[in-house]
Structure formats: C-alpha cells, structure tokens
Symmetry: C2
Subunit: 187 residues, 2 copies
C-alpha cells in the first residue's frame, strides 16, 4: 500500500509517482520514469513488470507484515483479534515510513485510474485470502476465518481511504481500530 | 453477477461464455463471439465496450435489484438488515434466472483470469459504495453505513464463491444469510 524500499527501487517509485501526478499516469512512459530516476529502462524492467506495478511494489512487504503479526498473536486469540493485530502492524509500518506523503499521493493517482483501483482491490483480496489461510493455520474454522479476514481487510481499506483523503493529519492505527470495533458492533 | 437479458445481448453473452471456456478467454475475439451469436461485430460493440464487458452486462441490473430492496426495507430497520435484504433479493434473482448454469460457468472463466477478477472486484466495490449511500439516504450514520455495506457485500461474495464452486446444488440465499449471520457474530 505504500513505499518500503529506500534504494533504486524507491527512487523509481518516487519518480513514477511524481510523473503520475503530473503530467499524469496515462501520459507517463517507462522511459520518462527511468530518466527521472537516473536509471536505464532495463533497470526499471528488472524491478517492475510494467508501469502499473511500480505503485504496488510495497504489496508483498505489506502482506508479510500482516501475516507475521497474525502468526505472532497470542495462542487462542479469536480470529478477528489476530487479523486485527495484523492490520494494526501494517498501519504502524505505513505511518512510520520515511516519506509520509507517499501513500497519500499514491492514493490520489489510484483514485483517478479505474485500472489501478482494480489492481489495488485485487491486492487487498489476495491479502484477505492469505490472512484467512493464516487464521486457519492457527486453528480457526474456515468460515469464521474468512469472515474475520474480510472484516479486518474492509476496516483497513475504509481507514486507509479516510487517512489518505483527510485534510487534517489522522492516526491510521486509531482509524483501523475504530473500523474493527464497528465490525464487532454489527447487529 | 450473472445473465439477465433474454435477447440479442443474452445470445452474445452465452456465445462469449462458451468460447471463453473453450478455447479460452485470451483466444477468443469479438469476431468469434459475433459469429457464434449470429450478429455483426457492429452489433456487439453497440452493446458492449469490449470483450471483457460481456461478462459484466448484468452488473447494473444486479445493483438496481440490491438498491431497490434497500430502499424498500422497513423504516427504522438497522443498516445491516436493510443491506442484507438487498443481497437476499439479488441472490433470489440470480437463482431464478432462466439458465442456472450461467453464473457457475462465468465464475470459472473469471477465476482463471486475473484481469477479470479485478473487474469483478471493482464492480463489487462500486456496489458496496452505492449500498452505503442508499443506507445514508435512509438515515444511517455514514461510518456505520459503510461497515454494514462492506459486511453484506463480503458475505455475498463468499457465498457466491461457494455457490459457484460447490459440487452439489446449494441455496444461494441461505448461504448469504449464513454469511451475514457470521458477520453479526463477530466478536
């Protein structure tokens, strides 16, 4: 959901994001990104399959953080508690990254492009499936695991959307916790 | 999520689905679909933007059914009750369509193609947003409306996936109701 790499990958991601905001995603080529990041196109393609993937380079690390926290949750914790701990860990990591403006600018690019929105949704759906699997590995019943993973994933998505679009600085972890509490209160 | 049109649109959708299953989505052209459905390519493009959209021709009607049921829910019904009524109406409509094998075959094509999965997720996300808006129009607090809409949408998705992949015939409405009950039981 954000940027996690401080190196050449990070430079390319920053360059891409700046260009996707101005002149725009459709108007930007891989050659433009490589030039701005000071790398060759070949280097770009060693790191990313295409210009869309630049925006999703943090997805794998995001998922690793979530799954590690699910696995580290106390034995016997209810499924929703375990997966909420995963989303909290991801929120903490996103908030503490070196460039806090990256997620917000990235979100603006994605909001403006349906094909990017689709990719973001697929990544979140993949995360929910992986989270449910991790809950089942901890002993949760599959149906309950799927529902807990969907609830926590949706809580994260709604919180993230508010966090990246708010005019004032908000605490992403608090927004996620509030969202999870709302799912718990459904009646 | 399925097929709703009995006419030329429906014929094209059937032809497309048959070809997407064999020889496959990637291998099929609009010309192939038009030929099999006995129409011109021009007719195809009057109905669908591209070969991907054929599979989503029922989305608008699906959304209309959901939103109408939300609006028709008893005054004062809790948001989750109202949106669950919407998903139940959609499940009933899907189960009673003329060709009950269509959703299952369609789901198989989508499961095999990430770009189709992405589109399906975007349609469901759009539906959740529209459902939340309909709940707010009924007087729900926006945060509660969003969570109820996400929960009911996820319950539908999980139920639909089970319904379209099960070896035995299942009752989609019962699966949706069970999923909603699981969200209510989250703690």
């Amino acid at each position: 959901m954000g940027r996690w790499e401080p190196d050449a990958r990070g430079r390319m991601a920053q360059a891409a994001l700046e260009l996707y905001l101005d002149p725009g995603y459709e108007q930007t080529t891989v050659a433009d990104i490589a030039e701005r990041a000071g790398v060759t196109e070949r280097t770009f393609f060693r790191h990313f399959a295409d210009k869309r993937e630049v925006l999703f380079s943090g997805s794998e690390q995001f998922q690793r953080v979530v799954l590690a926290a699910i696995e580290a949750a106390p034995e016997g914790a209810p499924p929703l508690d375990a997966v909420a701990a995963g989303m909290d860990a991801a929120a903490a990591a996103l908030q503490s990254q070196p460039d806090p403006t990256f997620p917000r600018r990235r979100a603006a690019v994605i909001a403006a492009n349906p094909s990017l929105q689709e990719r973001e949704l697929l990544k979140m759906a993949t995360l929910a499936t992986a989270s449910a699997r991790a809950l089942v590995a901890r002993g949760a019943e599959p149906g309950e695991a799927a529902v807990a993973a969907e609830a926590a994933g949706a809580a994260f998505r709604l919180a993230f959307e508010r966090w990246t679009t708010s005019d004032e600085p908000l605490d992403l972890r608090a927004l996620v916790a509030d969202g999870v509490a709302r799912f718990r209160a459904l009646a």
